[in-house]
């Protein structure tokens, strides 16, 4: 494996981290709360895609689209059950409620998969792209391009369209945005739909890349996504994108070049990076520092 191949793999992994992290950061930006069922949305999308491909014999592309749509819709359910119906004066109550929902989804998936690791079928015959004698997996390139295309369109959506402007206004100040006649609940709903849809896309893409899915695949990814948003700065969209790519790249390169005796510690890398960043700049790499008001 040459370093270029490693980099492509790292960026591919990183783009799935970014997609997931964007979802966290959007919701956090708008509500100042975390949705800990986010990783589970990622997981159920992969399961839906798997069920559609293997049981209903749908073409892969259709399964990918439908699974992502189901994931988006589940975002509305999360918003209703864990946020709108829960009293806002108790921010931890919402956090807990999303954990509860995560447990529900995980155990549904566990019953569904009968506790075994599920093999995700190959979407199509994998091909290699040759660039100057380097063989790069076509699937990995495809995943990376989908990821980057989605991130770029999201940038356009957030910074160039009216709905994006409304979303930024609600993130800036909910109350004032409401006074200016924005339908805050609608915007929050849209945020959850986008956020969960991206998690769904990331779920199906990862399943495609690694060919295996488990009910617990969302837990670790969810944690990685959280790390990324703190690294990048809470609520910062660009921070989440760049942070995700950096983390993926860092992990793959560390795996390739760390001495053997340290390989066991690779799961700690992300968190060691995280704690160091927090100690130096408590608001994250691209976060705005918040002033304390009396």
């Amino acid at each position: 494996m040459t370093i270029l191949q490693q980099c492509i793999n790292g960026l591919m992994l990183g783009s799935t981290y970014s997609l997931l992290a964007i979802g966290y950061t959007l919701v956090f930006g708008v509500l100042q709360m975390l949705n800990l069922a986010h990783g589970e949305v990622y997981m159920i999308a992969a399961f839906f895609a798997w069920a559609m491909v293997t049981m209903m014999k749908l073409p892969f592309f259709a399964a990918f689209i439908i699974a992502s749509l189901i994931a988006s819709l589940s975002g509305l359910l999360i918003e209703l059950l864990c946020f709108r119906l829960v009293n806002k004066d108790y921010p931890l109550a919402s956090l807990l409620s999303t954990i509860g929902l995560g447990i529900v989804l995980q155990n549904f998936a566990l019953v569904f998969s009968k506790g075994e690791m599920v093999r995700f079928p190959s979407a199509f015959h994998d091909f290699n792209i040759n660039i100057g004698g380097l063989a790069i997996s076509g699937v990995h390139v495809l995943i990376l391009s989908i990821g980057i295309a989605l991130m770029l369109s999201l940038q356009v959506l957030i910074f160039k369209t009216n709905i994006g402007k409304a979303l930024r206004a609600v993130a800036e100040n909910r109350v004032v945005a409401g006074m200016f006649g924005l339908n805050v609940n609608f915007i929050v709903g849209v945020t959850f739909v986008i956020s969960s849809g991206l998690a769904g896309v990331a779920g199906v893409l990862t399943a495609m890349a690694y060919h295996s899915i488990t009910p617990f695949m969302g837990v670790e990814m969810g944690l990685k996504g959280l790390t990324v948003i703190v690294l990048g700065g809470m609520g910062s969209l660009t921070g989440a994108m760049i942070g995700g790519l950096m983390l993926g790249l860092g992990e793959v390169l560390a795996m390739g070049y760390l001495p053997m005796c340290l390989i066991g510690y690779k799961d700690a890398i992300a968190f060691i990076m995280l704690i160091m960043v927090l100690l130096i700049k408590p608001s994250g790499l691209m976060g705005r520092s918040q002033e304390v008001k009396v």
Binding site: L81, L92, A93, S97, G100, I103, Q106, L110, L279, P282
Partner: protein, 273 residues
């Protein structure tokens, strides 16, 4: 294993109650920790190494476990003073995972294979410790210390202007919480006769937070009730077979809609006013 099924559950409830109180003390100054499983692991491994490899008594091991976990509480709590709210939660989460990964690779306790050979705990020991901890926590919260904990949670800046040393208060709460988690960890490792890094995942830290939030974080009885309910509930739901954890999750969500402040809140104790 020596204990009956019910005896085992009773011990688990006692240990979980100590864990719930450990987070309650930290949380009473407004600090959220998602890394309590890490302090628990430190206490658990320290206790296990002492009784198995150094042959000390369990009581001595528990004292050392508490001190060591408290020391780590200081090491984590000191830099964490700069962080608030969600950042503190995620930094402590990172700490918990780093501790887990460390023990996964620690050859001295045979890494992820786990280590065994502990002496068991007994119901009297667990409940004696629990009662002492409950009494001391209750007294602490009624003392001027407890009042300053509360003041810091409500408004750090206002507390500072009232002459409360916020740094000392927050650190004290963090260290106390960490040592209690260490005690619970040592008890747990000996109750299980076995210690393995997989017992100390992020899920464990979340479970401790659930005890506190579901039971209620305003008075000392809240976390105790939360630990009791959430430990017993999966057992009581056994008849639901595969779906019991689904029901457990749904109950949790329903609770947060109906009673976001937890089952027990302060109002229950002030009806006479």
């Amino acid at each position: 294993m020596g204990e009956s099924y019910l005896g085992g559950i009773a011990i688990q409830i006692g240990i979980n109650m100590i864990l719930a109180l450990s987070l309650y003390i930290t949380f009473s100054t407004g600090q959220i920790s998602l890394g309590h499983a890490g302090f628990m692991a430190i206490g658990g491994y320290a206790g296990a190494i002492l009784t198995v490899q150094a042959g000390t008594s369990l009581t001595f091991a528990i004292v050392i476990a508490a001190l060591l976990a408290g020391l780590f509480g200081l090491l984590v709590g000191w830099p964490a003073l700069r962080l608030g709210g969600i950042f503190l939660a995620i930094a402590t989460l990172g700490f918990g995972i780093i501790v887990m990964v460390f023990f996964q690779n620690f050859p001295y306790t045979s890494g992820s294979m786990g280590m065994q050979g502990m002496v068991g705990t007994s119901i009297p020991l667990v409940y004696l410790l629990l009662s002492a901890i409950v009494f001391l926590t209750w007294q602490l919260m009624r003392s001027s210390w407890g009042r300053s904990f509360e003041a810091v949670r409500e408004d750090e800046i206002a507390a500072k202007t009232m002459g409360i040393n916020v740094t000392v208060v927050k650190l004290t709460a963090f260290i106390l919480g960490a040592s209690l988690a260490g005690i619970a960890g040592a008890l747990d490792a000996h109750y299980m006769y076995y210690i393995d890094s997989h017992n100390y995942t992020f899920g464990r830290s979340i479970e401790i937070l659930l005890f506190l939030i579901l039971g209620g974080s305003e008075v000392v009885w809240g976390p105790l009730l939360g630990a009791l309910i959430l430990t017993a509930l999966p057992e009581l739901l056994r008849f639901m077979a595969d779906y019991r954890m689904v029901v457990y999750g749904l109950l949790m969500m329903a609770m947060m809609i109906v009673r976001p402040q937890g089952i027990i809140d302060r109002k229950m104790f002030h009806k006479r006013r």
